[in-house]
Amino acid sequence: MKYELTCINCPMGCRITADYDGKEVTNIQGYTCARGKAYAQTEITDPTRMVTALVGVEGTHAPLSVKTRSPIRKPLIFDALRVIRETTVRPPVRIGDVVVENVCNSGVDVIATENIEA
């Protein structure tokens, strides 16, 4: 099957085409650097994204911002968001505190990205 991608690594936004037979990505064309080639590889076989979201905080309506520590597989995004949305934390919270461990068995923790005082 033929794939057409826009590389998201830099402002060049290279249009990359490649073939994928379900096993191997071949005939990658249109990239202008090694990062573009690698992007095509993962974007076709197993795309990943960072997820940033919000969780509730006890005692206030203002939410706490969180992120996945590293990118997670794209099909997991909405499951992860559901788990994150159902989570509330109790202050104090520091940047980097784990809010959800191993979200949806992705192997990735969700961590706080801001401080909340007690």
């Binding site: 998201i8 992120k67 990205t113 801001e114």
Partner: protein, 421 residues
Amino acid sequence: MRKTDILIIGGGPAGLAAAVGAYEAGARDILILDREERLGGILKQCIHNGFGLHTFKEELTGPEYAQRFIEKVLAYQIPYQTETMVIDVSSDKVVTCVSRQNGLERIQAQAVILCMGCRERPRGSLGTPGERCPGIFTAGTAQKFTNLEGLMPGKEVVILGSGDIGLIMARRMTFLGAKVHACVELMPYSSGLKRNIVQCLDDFGIPLLLSHTVVDIHGREHLEGVTVAQVGSDLKPIPGTEKYFPCDTLLLSVGLIPENELSEMAGVKIAPSTSGAVVDEQLQTSVPGIFSAGNVLHVHDLVDFVSEEAMKAGANAWRYIRHELPQGGRKVPVEMGFGVGGIVPQFVSEDARDKVSFMFRPRNVYRNARVIVELNGEQVYAKKAMILAPGEMVNLSLPAEKLAGLKEAESILVRIEVPEA
């Protein structure tokens, strides 16, 4: 009257970095004023990642990036006053502010750094016809509701304009359970970053309607829908192409305007091409001792460059107080040649030392181009660029020796050269 060496207006990314830059240059008597409850400015609500790749070699979220600078300000024990609104700045650097804590106050500064940032272009400036009903927000206002207040503006969304904040909000609203029906862009290209179009629209199948605009807004008690039409090359709607989109929320992402009311009160000259202050290579405005940095000077793409610029303004404010800046010499104007828009600085001191940086926005998309700097018609610098686009600011840094001929120069010309078709 209360006195301070360096007064910084605004505690966002620019203000924080200006304070850090001033302190690290040797200043100790610094004061940051901010109208909000907490330091950090707009970064507080930018909870997505992608900040700090240049500065910290990491991809941080907005609050994390802000915290890096807030921690420096705290470590240096730089005083700051939040919930304090500056209402006047005079050309002799008397700053008038109001706060619940201190009431009306006048502070005499030796140097002032303007770091007020920018605001979003509102609906009123678009001239879009239709009802003036609730349900219409600038993208940044909606972002504040969702990310800081924990409130949802609506469930069925159309976005007008494809600036980065609009794209980021398309994804945020989707993440929060809303349905984003379309992102409508007047121009034949998006002003947002390509990576944001892929990650925020394409990932969720949100259509980007280029060369389209909203031509009517419907709903009396609340927004019920918008009419979208295609536009021609004259950017005027094409009759017969109208399409109705039911929605309860319209988000606007149609540009940013530097917030320079205070600058103008101080008599600072404003450049039409940036809507920010006219500055020299030291980031000093037309009023001696008043400096400007960040989005109030010109709208940046990357916060990293805001921090870099503001640190420089902070250090230079201290050098000004110490009489270490070139003062009173002739200033050589910087001219914008082919393809160059919104250049900063607009003047370079003839006795400029150190390196001189120029930032500008390409007027169009240019491929395999060269960026050229000329002094008295003679090329002193050239740099190749595979692609230049209005959405990506160009940043040039010229070593002082390249500008050796500055004393004799009438002007500096910055231009883009494209290969013959």
